[in-house]
Subunit: 427 residues, 2 copies
């Protein structure tokens, strides 16, 4: 074990198939760099810090760490939706206390814009409290909503390439069924994640770059009424006899009875009705232009944990951005997010740093110019952006007795040195 | 081209990832056997026969035929839900007319119990009308509901092993997210296909044969009230902090506003509400025993067209049962379904024939002894039955420019020799 100060890494928000690749990059770089002591993974994100549940990643077998590449979602150390809110000073103070008790000199936070903000706040408070803490952010979200709309803070978020590949392949396969089983089931509605930002449903176009399928893509950014949507679907039915509809979970179809998560974001997965269901019901009630009926698929969280569709490019980049973050930390470069920027020319990227505060204060939207004139498609410019992110190959998964072999960490935790603590929001 | 009489193959009902493997087996065996003339694929099942839309499979490049192994669903020649009903004599007479006009001596029907019945009726009518027609059935259904409950007519249906593999892997991946993202999303409800028969939801247990996950499986055959279900989920939450629920689309949760297909089967995919949604809403309304909320995934048709999860065993067997059917046909053994029977000892199968009428009159149910005492799990006997069907490996898919390479047949059709015809049900 190195004599350097210790590192805590935590994950926040929804998982991705590649979030653990970043974790692997951090753990392996920290080991290689020598400057860093023990690497701890906070169990269930910042809640694990508050509760002083710090899994010792340095003590885990190298094989388990390397299997993180093939382990989706956040099962290894866990994530959370717990938000350190302004005004919850006790929580912030507790984080500093825990870091002090465990000689934590490095804090790496894997997450989206909100998490970059939190990391920034913790770093500032640490400085006020006399704790030298290097806080570095690691981008992650399937939605590709981190950073700015000009792609200058980050080109794309780790996680997005894999869900894009998911949609590319799923729609290809769905098209085979739709082509083969019409006229009985001429309309298939598929609901995509991404809240109010359209990168995920847009990726369905990767299944059919030449526009040979009767595919319509409805982004939240390009709203229309259910009546318009039905007209467009029926026009497609008259032309092609069938229609594939990809629709964002955030497309406005009226009241769904959504629940909110602790970030205040709408939780579409636990709403009382889904967008796909509303559309299917509307189409079936209004009656289709051809015989048969509409049906809906809501793959839900499978989009962000189906390891079989992980993009090899996404996996590699997630790993590298994790390594970059650890390298920044070891060099004392706090207050930054490790980022991925695209080079001009044939696809390649470089790993850089951008100020956490810039990311925290930025907002990305789906470029208006990437929405096609029809309103229910995306342009070739989008395809040129997204195509390299899904890679060329599928990732071979390690299997044991037919099942996926995933990381299983031994329950080796840092000794609890402080009194028990209940996070403020849980009281 | 051989001088033998021609063969028509048609697909019926819902597709599977391996239905085209059977088609490949038929096409390649017919070519190898020599006794058979041209192989025609009826476009969209029996409707293609009625409309005289006969795709010439013998004229297709061998490469496209061999790619059928990696082409899911029924996009290649198409399937239908059109049922030749008793009393629709005109339809039956038209089939015979078309077969006579195209010198069809062999009719191979890929489908479930209903299709075996139809094949049998056509064979009998052909005999009455002086047409020598060898009709052979080829089993297919993801539900595994063909044949008898004693597994004597068939051990398992081609298609089932692949959807079983889908559930094995999907639940493994879902468990990673559920473990990692609780406490925020402690309950994930996943809806499985299979109408009223529980083989598909049961396959979720393959993800966790040692019962280490907090997984509950609700089969239609083991009903309970929503209140009981919620109690069981909440007990699991108290024990494990989280719960994975797999539930059959046919589980009785009250009125869903289902539509019926032309076989009279409930079409769960186009109902006004899904079982998963009803369960999620009930759990969230009643309130969970832990903090957080329930959410639902409804993968829908993806279960039966996701090629990435195809079982290699299922692919091989589907191919072989197709070859067996063609071989039976060439030998003049009409009135049979080619079938798969399991040998005693370590897993192996043999391909046999069983009378179509036996299959048509049989009904399979999920063995009561395979439902666990709790009512929401299956037993190890089920696992011993199902485990070999999913195989040990994942199937490598051919990709071109990152996308799946699938069969694309050239539009080479038999010349239309008869007046146009509108199927009776479509008038």
């Amino acid at each position: 074990m190195s004599a350097g100060r210790n590192l805590v890494v935590a994950q926040s928000g929804g998982p991705t198939p590649v979030i653990n690749s970043s974790l692997q990059g951090i753990a392996e770089a920290a080991r290689d760099l020598g400057a860093i002591g023990t690497v701890y993974g906070a169990r269930h994100g910042i809640e694990g810090v508050l509760r002083e549940e710090l899994l010792d990643l340095s003590a885990q077998p190298a094989e388990e760490v390397s299997l993180l590449r093939f382990t989706p979602a956040a099962g290894s150390i866990g994530t959370c939706r717990y938000k350190l809110k302004s005004g919850q000073d006790e929580d912030f103070e507790r984080v500093i206390e825990v870091f002090k008790a465990h000689d934590v000199g490095y804090f790496l936070y894997i997450g989206g814009n909100d998490s970059m903000d939190t990391a920034n706040k913790i770093a500032r408070l640490a400085a006020e409290r006399g704790l030298e803490l290097v806080a570095v952010g690691v981008p992650k979200t399937v939605d590709n909503d981190v950073g700015d709309s000009e792609f200058q803070l980050i080109d794309h978020t780790p996680g997005y390439g894999s869900v894009a590949r998911y949609w590319m392949q799923m729609v290809q396969n769905a098209n085979e069924e739709n082509a083969g089983s019409c006229p009985a089931d001429p309309v298939l509605v598929m609901q995509a994640m991404g809240r109010k930002i359209g990168f995920i449903p847009a990726a369905a176009r990767l299944a059919d770059p030449r526009r040979e399928m009767p595919l319509q893509i409805y982004l939240a950014e390009s709203p229309c009424t259910l009546e318009q949507l039905a007209d467009q679907v029926n026009d497609q039915l008259r032309r092609a006899g069938r229609c594939l509809v990809v629709i964002s979970e955030g497309f406005d179809v009226g009241e769904l009875g959504e629940m909110k998560d602790s970030f205040g974001h709408t939780e579409f997965g636990s709403s009382k009705l889904t967008v796909a269901q509303v559309v299917v019901n509307y189409l079936n009630q209004a009656g289709l232009a051809t015989k048969g009926s509409a049906r809906g698929n809501v793959p839900g969280t499978d989009q962000r944990h189906a390891m079989a569709y992980a993009s090899p490019v996404d996996l590699d980049e997630s790993y590298c951005v994790g390594r970059k973050a650890a390298t920044l930390a070891a060099a004392g470069e706090g207050g930054f997010m490790a980022t991925i920027l695209r080079n001009p020319g044939p696809y390649s990227v470089r790993y850089e740093k951008v100020p956490l505060s810039d990311v925290a204060n930025s907002e990305r939207s789906f470029p208006a110019g990437w929405i096609a004139e029809s309103g229910y498609d995306v342009t070739d410019d989008f395809l040129r952006y997204a195509r390299p992110l899904v890679g060329n190959d599928m990732v071979g998964l390690p299997l044991v007795d037919g099942r996926q072999r995933m990381t299983r960490f031994a329950p080796i935790y840092a000794e609890k040195l402080l009194p028990a603590y209940v996070p403020q929001a849980d009281r």
